[in-house]
């Protein structure tokens, strides 16, 4: 057998043990009945999926989709100009890219806690604003959707910037010279050349931000304060406080199915782009 073909086995083995097997277990759990003290029991049932049709859970799913979509849009709005700037900054671009990935050097958990210290009633922002006399009472900056979105945008912005940078960097600059030469002003060149040619980067960045945002657990838990429940928090509650493992398994499989559907749609579009 060729060496190249042998190279796929370590990764396949790891995936089979650590990914496919747990997935199978979750799928099986989602079709079982909840045990009295957690765990699962027979008989097999579809009740867990039927329960998902309850508008309560639909609302949580919609909220999650909405929060993920807003976070992705904000990442794009903030990330595109940044990626554009970095791709045009010559030799300093390596330094700027370094700054973009610098936050990864510390734990996401710690950085999210840091936001709590900034946003809470006795946090930096409220303290300063109170001291300046601009407000009489602390602003409710923490434990709401805005705080969750802020945390998600903060956490996932680099995943938007990096693929955008890669496409913008790769773009042939003579195309912009040609556009100017043919009479297009800079804004028109951007609209008709740069922007359409960066769609693959926009799509990649949007996928890389939207999917982790949709499944975000830590950020809504800490910055949303339990009030702003997203799908992942629902899953966590089912496996802990509610002791309803089958339902938790059904919820997480449904979330995964939605993500897969979105990914397939995006992948199809990407392959069309290659033509």
């Amino acid at each position: 057998m060729r060496f190249e073909r042998l190279c796929r086995w370590p990764a396949l083995a790891v995936l089979a043990v650590l990914f496919v097997a747990p997935m199978g277990i979750i799928a099986a759990y989602s079709l079982l009945t909840r045990g009295a003290y957690g765990g699962v029991e027979l008989p097999w049932t579809l009740d867990n999926y039927i329960r998902l049709c309850d508008p309560l859970y639909g609302a949580i799913l919609l909220r999650s989709l909405w929060i993920a979509a807003v976070s992705t849009a904000l990442c794009l709005i903030l990330g595109y100009p940044l990626a554009f700037f970095i791709s045009r900054s010559g030799r300093r671009k390596h330094f700027y890219l370094f700054l973009v990935i610098l936050p990864f050097w510390s734990s996401f958990l710690i950085r999210t806690y840091a936001w709590m210290f900034l946003l809470r009633d006795t946090g930096l922002f409220n303290t300063v604003l109170l001291a300046l006399g601009w407000i009489r009472e602390p602003l409710p900056l923490l434990y709401n959707d805005a705080a969750v979105i802020l945390g998600l945008v903060y956490g996932f912005l680099p995943f938007m910037v990096l693929p955008l940078f890669a496409t913008l960097e790769r773009m042939d600059r003579t195309l912009l010279e040609a556009a100017a030469d043919l009479g297009a002003r800079p804004l028109e060149s951007f609209r008709r050349i740069t922007l359409p040619l960066s769609f693959p980067g926009i799509r990649a960045g949007a996928i890389l931000v939207f999917i982790p945002c949709l499944g975000a657990y830590l950020t809504p838990d800490l910055l949303g304060g339990g009030k702003s429940v997203m799908v992942a928090n629902l899953v966590q509650t089912q496996f802990t406080a509610a002791r309803d493992w089958p339902f938790g398994a059904a919820v997480s499989l449904t979330l995964m199915a939605i993500v897969m559907l979105l990914l397939f749609g995006a992948a199809k579009k990407s392959s069309e782009d290659l033509l």
Binding site: E177, A178, A179, D181, L182, A184, R185, P196
Partner: protein, 319 residues
Amino acid sequence: MQPVLQLAGVSKHYPGHTALSGVTLEVRRGEFFSLVGPSGCGKTTMLRLIAGLEDPASGDIRLNGRSLLGLRPYLRNVSTVFQNYALFPHMTVAENVAFGLRYRGQGSDAPRKVREALELVRLSGKESRYPAQLSGGEKQRVALARSLVLNPELLLLDEPLSALDPALRKQVRAELKELQRRVGITFVFVTHDQEEAMSVSDRMAVMNHGVVEQVGPPAELYLRPASRFVAAFLGAVNWVNGAGIRPESTRLSRLAPDRGAVQASVERVTFLGDRLHVEARLASGEAIVAQVSRLDGEFQPGEAVWVWWRKEEELRFEA
């Protein structure tokens, strides 16, 4: 008649390198003008200055008598065919060709103009192809059509044939010349290939180290070069006693001719089909190459021959 393009004392510097120093030049309306020289001589820089993609350090560039200084490229009625063609990959052939029309106030009747431009470059039927689906020659013609459709005062071509394979290149350059004659637009053509420049140009400028060495019709430059550089750049030269003789002007004979001739011994003979290259060494030690017809006889290495040429064929320079 006023020249369509005038360059007066144009200079351009890059860090550690002078691309152009004090170039003065005129391009006449409707002519096929070439800028030719070795790589790094400043010819592409000159094209970019005319297009407005870069700004000169000093000097003036005038189009129809009006200075272009400070005008951004999108405000100049000139258009460029780029070396790599710079076709927009996400647009079809027709969309590429139509790109500039709306900015040049020619947006009305765009479909007809696009169709005519594509007919002109013989690309009818390929309107809905994408650049990635075209051959090199077709891409080059799309780039041409995209510029020609705007009917610019000046069409700038930056080595447009260099990306084509050699067999196609000769054919395309003849087509280019024919196209220029038909549309009557002034072409400024940059190339490093002197044969290409001579074959298409009405006039040409030979450049070296950021300076224009000589401007004129190809035959004049070839037969009466103003400098040793121009002489050597446009063709092979034998240097004998400070005078230059082209290989095709260098004659060989076995019998002593009645006029002044020098003796030489043949060192190598290369058969090139329609002609022979004979390398010989003169008694004075100088090596020469003679390009002779097969019908002039056969020469063998080691053979003693007489080398002669007509005085009026000599290229003479002051320095």
